[in-house]
């Protein structure tokens, strides 16, 4: 029987086991929406903006481990997905994004709602397609899912001209994919793994530095085994948080610009760094020439382009993190008489000393709520088990520092691209993927406004998503830089005219709760969790709290600055407001 392109689209999604897609209709995808309307197996979530749809699919993918799927129309519908796609690309999140396109005969004619989305997204997708003929549609969709979820994961875009969705052909879904140009190396070279182990045996001050690859490949259990067996301390990049229990004695915290003293000093003093699924982002390394000067580097990564990109690597191992760590574990288990614990005793004592000297801490001011305290209370109230998304800026860093993540796929944040407006739609996607989990978006008053319209989506589905706005009426992270490096000139960072978030939440049909006193914080969080509706908690926090410690841009990561008493030189907020309006 012949099926239309639109019907084939739906059949292919069913074959891929897709049950939820996020999207927004429009002219050229009407045929697809018409078919979607006549079936019950795939649920379509209508967001209020296409960017929200992509972030929601991304949150769904990060929380569930399954690829996220998006469907939008051509032109502006397609261009609105770009930030979401770039976000997923930077963090290696598997997505398949379908954009409608004007009919083949009109492409290139500046037709109504036409955009060359394949051209636009070429540098921010893992791969993309323009399907020119309905007979190629099924095979293209099969390839897209394969590419998105194989090797280093990432977003794939399929552009579907309207006539392709109308035309009919015999539906055959290929059973497998064979792409000559796409054969990722999944198993690390055994000789290299043995070399890595022999370095681990010799090292006196080793550190395991792990990133998003551990989460994406499901390597957390293998990692835990290695750390416990060898007594090597672990630091997680922002993307790697949850890959190792945040309250484990071997955990150093996050390294880098807002990393812990112990993590940064450990990397700087290490004689061996075993990097697993981490790409040595500039926010981790700080000044690259001064990074880990004493360390031999073993780098395990599925993507050869990540290796030696930023730092020199002595033992490169291209392979899937889980497979490679499993091999490493086998070799470690076969070892006898290494005496790992005694060997690393002095090193671990040194680290314990650093942890004691400069723990993560924050200053509380009388009558004000410290934003870090809010994060700590969310951690306590959720027993460390919630799915936490963040926006970008201070809210993101405080969450990374003070919520002790336990398991993978628990912390959803835009690490690479740093997309404000990511957290809330991602929380919606995560809640769809995990309806029984408690989900919090820890947000700032700036970034929550970048996709606030999705309150309507959350309320429509009565999602119990919680938003904790750390409301300081500033674009806090930029303000912090202006305070520290631009002599307190708060240029365009003051948000005093921002909306009344409680009323705003209520206008959308959500519950709004304002919390202005420290003593009310724990109860408000508990109340929000108990309410089976979308809740926005507006925490009126200390306006000029800073994320500390901090490594200034261009400095080595052991050149950290710590919280100081607020100096006289600094302008008061009131003065700052006057200057910037």
């Amino acid at each position: 029987m012949k099926l239309s392109g639109a019907e084939i689209f739906v059949e292919c999604l069913k074959k891929e086991g897709v049950d939820t897609i996020f999207g927004y209709p429009g002219g050229v995808v009407l045929n697809i929406y018409d078919v979607l309307h006549q079936q019950r197996e795939i649920r379509h979530i209508l967001t209020k903006h296409e960017q929200g749809a992509v972030h929601a699919a991304d949150g769904y993918a990060r929380a569930s481990g399954k690829p996220g799927v998006v469907l939008v129309t051509s032109g502006p519908g397609a261009t609105n997905t770009v930030t979401g796609i770039a976000t997923a690309y930077m963090d290696s999140i598997p997505l398949v994004v379908f954009t409608g396109q004007v009919p083949m005969s009109m492409i290139g004619n500046d037709a109504f709602q036409e955009a060359d989305i394949v051209g636009i997204t070429r540098p921010c997708t893992k791969h993309n397609y323009l399907v020119s003929d309905v007979s190629k549609l099924a095979a293209t969709i099969k390839e897209a899912f394969h590419i998105a979820t194989t090797g280093r994961k990432g977003p794939v875009l399929i552009d579907l001209p309207k006539d392709v969705s109308v035309n009919k052909t015999d539906f055959v879904y290929p059973s497998k994919v064979d792409l000559k140009g796409f054969k990722p190396t999944l198993h690390g070279n055994l000789q290299q793994i043995k070399r890595a182990l022999s370095l681990m045996r010799k090292a006196e001050r080793p550190v395991l530095f792990t990133g998003g690859g551990v989460i994406l490949s499901g390597a957390a259990e293998e990692l835990k085994k290695i750390a416990k067996k060898t007594w090597i301390p672990v630091t997680n990049s922002l993307m790697g948080l949850g890959g190792f229990p945040g309250d484990h004695p071997l955990f150093l915290g996050m390294p880098g610009m807002h990393g812990t003293y112990a993590a940064n000093l450990s990397l700087q003093q290490a004689d061996l760094i075993v990097a697993v699924g981490a790409r040595f982002d500039d926010r981790v390394t700080g000044k690259i020439d001064a990074f880990a000067p004493k360390a031999t580097v073993v780098h395990i990564d599925i993507d050869p382009t990540s290796i030696k990109k930023n730092v020199r690597v002595d033992i490169p191992i291209v392979g899937d993190c889980r497979n490679t760590l499993r091999e490493l574990n086998k070799l470690i288990a076969a070892e006898r008489g290494v005496g790992w614990k005694t060997k690393h005793k002095a090193w671990l004592e040194q680290i314990a000393q650093w942890k004691k000297e400069r723990p993560l801490t924050y200053r509380e001011h009388k009558g004000k709520i410290a934003p870090q305290y809010v994060v700590e209370e969310i951690y306590k109230a959720t027993k460390g088990k919630a799915i936490i998304t963040t926006e970008v800026g201070q809210n993101q860093m405080w969450t990374a520092q003070f919520y002790k993540f336990q398991v993978p796929r628990q912390f959803l944040t835009s690490g690479g691209l740093g997309t404000m407006g990511y957290g809330f739609p991602a929380a919606i996607g995560a809640q769809f993927a995990c309806p029984d989990r408690v989900v919090f978006d820890i947000a700032g008053d700036g970034s929550i406004q970048m996709n606030i319209q999705e309150l309507a989506t959350a309320v429509q589905h009565r999602l119990p998503v919680n938003i904790a706005v750390l409301d300081n009426r500033f674009l806090g992270m930029v303000r912090q830089w202006q305070q520290l490096f631009y002599d307190c000139r708060y240029s365009s960072t003051c948000l005093t005219s921002g909306p009344d978030f409680v009323k705003l939440a209520e206008a959308y049909g959500a519950v709004g709760i304002r919390v202005a006193r420290k003593e009310d914080v724990p109860d408000a969080i508990r109340e929000a969790i108990s309410i089976k509706n979308t809740v926005l908690l507006d925490f009126v926090v200390d306006r000029e709290a800073n994320v500390m410690p901090m490594v200034p841009a261009g400095a080595a990561i052991d050149e950290m600055i710590f919280e100081e008493k607020r100096g006289k030189k600094k302008l008061s907020s009131a003065q700052a407001n006057k200057i910037t309006g």
């Binding site: 540098p123 791969h127 323009l130 792409l179 000559k180 140009g181 993507d303 050869p304 382009t305």
Partner: protein, 158 residues
């Protein structure tokens, strides 16, 4: 450093844009680029000549390998033994006083006159870049009206 990179790709629309995007996205100019189908019409061979920092070019080569439509990448600057050739068409003045000299140069460089008019000869020359540049500098005093180069093509020896 100058690099000659050979890229075997799928013969499909958009592939050239993916490949060139990896250079342009890093602010690298492509000095010459040659693309044509291979024996298997489903594949095309590209030869790209570019200049840049070795470390960044290593990154570009790895990124090229990562493209789904790319089958194989060879950076000839890391290989010692390869042949490179270029074909050039040169339109040179053929006024009475220049003709003999033009033909002498054609002879020396084992080139060919492929078109002639009262005012101009069109010369075809094939060879390594050095040879081609040598010939061009010899012809310059006669007056070159136009020149078209294919860009280098390269192949390993043996």
């Amino acid at each position: 450093m100058r690099h000659t990179i050979s890229v075997l790709v799928e013969n499909k629309f958009g592939v050239l844009a993916r490949v060139s995007g990896l250079f342009s996205g890093r602010g690298f100019n492509i000095e010459s680029l040659n693309v044509a189908p291979t024996l298997d019409p489903a594949l095309s061979q590209m030869t790209i000549v570019t200049r840049g920092d070795d470390r960044i070019l290593e990154q570009i080569t790895k990124q090229l390998n990562k493209l789904i439509n790319v089958i194989k990448v060879i950076d000839y600057s890391t290989e010692t033994d390869y042949i490179n050739r270029e074909l050039v068409l040169i339109k040179v003045s053929a006024k009475a006083e220049h003709r003999a000299e033009a033909l002498r140069i054609v002879d020396i460089f084992r080139a060919k006159v492929v078109d002639a008019s009262h005012s101009h000869y069109t010369i075809e020359v094939t060879g390594s870049e050095g040879k081609v540049n040598g010939m061009i500098s010899m012809l310059k005093p006669l007056g070159i009206k136009g020149i078209v180069r294919t860009g280098l093509v390269a192949m390993s020896r043996g």
